[in-house]
């Protein structure tokens, strides 16, 4: 079992991540992404419960029209991400049920902010046609101008709001 406090050097991790991205480009002809599968699962679930509503909501209907919405590159990529994270966390000894937060931060506050922040991530990912991995990494490394604007905006938003929520990380 590894040492839970020992992480890879950030620059080396970055090179490894870049090589993963490059192999996705060259061998599969696609990029990375993480938010896509979520919407696909919801669409399939909603299609079973309220097909009329899905048909009336164009972005969902568009997904539901596919012969099998879950047989998609990004769904399998997400499964692989879960698996890779699982193996890495287990072998490094960091697999531990809990809530990541500052030492003195209230758990309730932390969980509420996690959910609320997640909602913002979801809205932002739809607006920007991708999240930090699908738009910033994937498009950024192809030198897409929109991805670079997006990336600067991420840092802008993070620094602008950091002061508001500093309590949860202390």
């Amino acid at each position: 079992m590894g040492n839970p406090d020992k992480y890879w050097n950030s620059y080396l991790a970055g090179v490894a991540m870049g090589l993963v991205l490059l192999s996705a480009y060259l061998f599969v002809g696609k990029g990375l992404g993480a938010s896509g599968p979520a919407l696909r699962f919801v669409t399939v679930a909603a299609e079973a419960v309220a097909p009329g509503h899905v048909a009336a909501t164009p972005p969902l209907a568009h997904l539901a029209e596919e012969p099998s919405p879950l047989a998609n590159y990004f769904v399998f990529l997400g499964l692989g991400t879960l698996l890779g994270g699982f193996v890495a966390a287990y072998t490094s000894g960091r697999m531990k049920a809990g809530v990541s937060r500052g030492d003195t931060a209230p758990v309730g506050l932390r969980l509420a902010l996690a959910l609320g922040g997640g909602v913002l991530l979801g809205i932002g990912a739809r607006l920007a046609r991708g999240c930090a991995s699908g738009q910033a990494l994937t498009g950024g490394a192809l030198m897409s101008a929109g991805s670079w604007a997006f990336m600067f905006a991420i840092f802008g938003g993070g620094y602008a709001a950091a002061y508001l929520v500093r309590r949860q990380w202390r």
Binding site: Y7, W8, S10, Y11, L12, A13, G14, V15, A16, G18, L19, V20, L21, L22, Y25, L26, V28, G29, A34, A38, L39, V42, T57, P59, N72, L79, T81, L83, G84, G85, F86, A88, A89, S92, A97, G98, L113, A114, G116, G117, G118, V119, L120, L121, G122, G124, R126, R129, A132, S133, G134, A136, L137, A141, S144, A145, G146, A153, I154, G158
Partner: protein, 396 residues
Amino acid sequence: MSPLFPFQLPAANPQVAMLAAVFVGFGFGFVLERAGFGNARKLAAQFYGSEMVMLKVMFTAIVTAILGTTVLAGLGLVDLRALGDTIASDTFLWPMILGGFLIGVGIIFSGYCPGTSIVGMASGKLDAVLAYGGVILGQVIWAEVETRGPIARFHNSGALGHVYLYDLVKVPPQALAAAIVLVAIGAFLFGEKVERMVTGAVPGAPAPARRWVFAGVGAFGAVGLATLILPAPGAARPVPAATIAAPDLARRALAEPWKLRILDVRPMADCAKERVPGSECTPLDTLKRLELADVSATRDLVVVSERGLAEVPADARAYRGRVLLLDKGFEGWREWALAPAPAPAPGAPEAEQQAWRLRAGVRSALTGVGAPPPPASAAGGGAPVKRKAGGGGCSG
């Protein structure tokens, strides 16, 4: 679809494609975890200056992938623009900036971005489960409203199509890549300085890994620059004068118009009078202005002349994609599409009947002369119109 790049795995086999996706995802998840992103505090620390892991990992990853693609492109092994057009999404400037801002706020609130929350879940973190639940909820909320009224207008505003930084600054991608390497190293040194200011640590000897990475990206940046002095791929290549026959052009123009660009090089008056549907009137002397060397090479260029050309016009030779000459030129088209065609005898082979149906259908659409009802067939008319695959990214 034929592979776009020499290395691409056969997409026709779904098992191979899905297995490749799992492998790529495994690498992604593994590296994210080892970099520390399974823990929300590690990501959040970026925005308090104590540990700039996000900046270092993300920017190094981008620089690495940029160097990989630009060096391969410099060696003529991949088409950088085609890669970008296939994988990256179109630019929608304003929603991307607002979306980025919201994601930045979302990251500091939740401590995750969608990718790292998957890894957080895999590490057993309850907050990561809630964050990913929020990602689902947020997407559903936005999907409900994004096609309505003013929201839809904003959602699709600033649509610029595919725009690349190397087009904006007008330098070769390899030169831009080398500049990005320098900017990245500058940003890393600045980031480390901020870390020391915030944590009060004294500067020690940098990790050897860092030195290797900096040296490595610098070396690859130089290799990319060196490829610029190689003869441009394709410059010396003889331009193959491939032709396309009128029926094939009609079929493709109907089934996949987005994969074709039809240039009618006849004199303007002739082209204005009648032309192949979907074509642009670009007489020979105006071809230069299209700057075909600089436009995306993802579509096949079809050149329509009066009677067919023996070779590709000089100004179209710079196009990096496929150039096809319409066989027998517009004369050939007129003969096939505009002249009445005798119906095949009953009992003629199915292929012949289908060819006739296409011909009669195109003729009646273009001339307004009603075609006799096509003979009944189980196979139906023309090819089904396929929908274009969406852009890359998380929304895929």
